[in-house]
């Protein structure tokens, strides 16, 4: 039953305090109403601090306002941000607002001629550059081919020289054999080589 009483008291407390000040302190001495009183304590103190702070605040604000100064980026000497501003988006300052249309034939022809000349020049220079590059490439290729041919010729030469050397080395042994062959041929004649063929014949009885 005790908690129900406290709830009733809580609701009743402000009414009671507002209506009659004499009864309030008496009720506050009870244990149930001690909590709201404790809360109301600091609330009462707060205005006092605000009052203390109020005369100082305007003075502080003034000091701050004097100190605060907004510097522009140019004054500070900061480098500008590297932002992308597309050509079509940027609008020059100081110019008259609104668009200037190109509709008359003369201005169209002048713009057309300018653009045409500009583009022709670009394409011509591009083609010239391409031709030059092509010439350089051609010259390089010719040089590379020449070098390749020289290298292959040198390789052939070395191959030939190696072959000759081999012939010379084997030449000493080979000459002795050749001499013997020549002697045999001389003895038997060139037809003697044919006589070497094996023949089978029945022995005559």
């Amino acid at each position: 039953m005790a908690p129900t009483r406290t709830i009733k008291n809580k609701h009743a407390a402000p009414k009671a305090g507002g209506s009659s000040g004499g009864k309030g302190p008496r009720k506050s001495s009870d244990g149930g109403i001690s909590k709201p009183k404790g809360k109301s304590g600091p609330k009462a103190k707060l205005p006092a601090t605000q009052i203390k702070g109020r005369p100082n605040l305007p003075g502080l604000d003034k000091n701050k306002k004097k100190k605060q100064r907004v510097y522009t980026e140019k004054e500070l000497g900061l480098p500008e941000l590297n932002m992308i501003t597309p050509v079509g988006v940027t609008k020059p300052r100081g110019k008259k607002k609104g668009k200037v249309f190109v509709d008359d034939k003369e201005s169209m022809t002048t713009i057309l001629a300018l653009v045409q000349a500009d583009k022709d020049g670009q394409i011509e220079s591009k083609m010239m550059r391409a031709r030059q590059m092509e010439e350089i490439r051609e010259a390089r290729r010719a040089e590379a081919d020449k070098k390749e041919a020289e290298r292959s010729a040198r390789l052939e030469d070395t191959k030939d020289s190696l072959r000759r050397k081999r012939k010379r080395a084997t030449g000493a042994a080979a000459t002795a054999e050749e001499e013997e062959n020549v002697k045999a041929v001389a003895a038997t004649g060139t037809k003697a080589a044919k006589a070497k063929k094996k023949k089978v014949s029945f022995a005559a009885e």
Binding site: V102, S107, I111, L112, Q116, I123
Partner: protein, 183 residues
């Protein structure tokens, strides 16, 4: 609908000059005393007869869907993008041309680049990264693109090497049907 400004006109003509050799024919006076002009509506640039453009002033901007030939679109950054609808005008005065064989026409119309194996013939003395119009062997313009190699370099290229980067092709009439004329 309004005429183009100085800057807009420069960007449009600059883009057209990549593909066309003679720009003066664009604004040459016609036999009936009329001439062609450029008009801008909903960031799209139209190439239209002056008489028709004058008639179109009676239609409000929002209600005007299209007039004359749509050349392309001015982007939000101020650049100009050519549409496939500009092909007949570009093809009439093409600077460089590439003829594609029959076996290469379909891949191109489906949105792929032109490879060397598909090229029937090409115009001589064409530098790289230069606008060119792509034709079929029957001289029907199929689209336009930018050359990947110069003519001399392209000769040495292997058959699968890209000769021309596609920019726009007639297949876009079907593929980009929803966004090509509006939106």
């Amino acid at each position: 609908m309004r005429p183009l400004t100085d800057e807009e006109m420069k960007t449009v003509l600059d883009k057209l000059a990549n593909y066309m050799s003679d720009l003066k024919s664009l604004i040459a006076p016609l036999e009936d005393g009329d001439r062609y002009v450029f008009r801008l509506n909903h960031s799209r640039v139209y190439y239209v007869k002056l008489s028709i453009a004058n008639l179109a002033t009676s239609i409000s901007r929002d209600a005007l869907l299209s007039l004359g030939t749509c050349l392309g679109k001015v982007t939000k950054t101020g650049k100009f993008r050519l549409h496939i609808t500009a092909l007949p005008i570009i093809a009439a005065g093409a600077r460089h041309k590439i003829w594609v064989k029959d076996n290469g026409a379909q891949p191109f119309l489906y949105g792929s680049n032109v490879v060397k194996a598909h090229v029937g013939r090409w115009s001589e003395d064409c530098p790289e990264h230069q606008g060119c119009v792509v034709y079929s062997m029957a001289d029907v313009p199929l689209g336009f693109g930018v050359t990947a190699r110069s003519t001399a370099e392209a000769r040495r290229l292997d058959p699968t090497g890209i000769v021309c980067f596609r920019q726009s092709d007639c297949g876009e009439y079907l593929r980009d049907e929803d966004t090509l004329f509006a939106g």
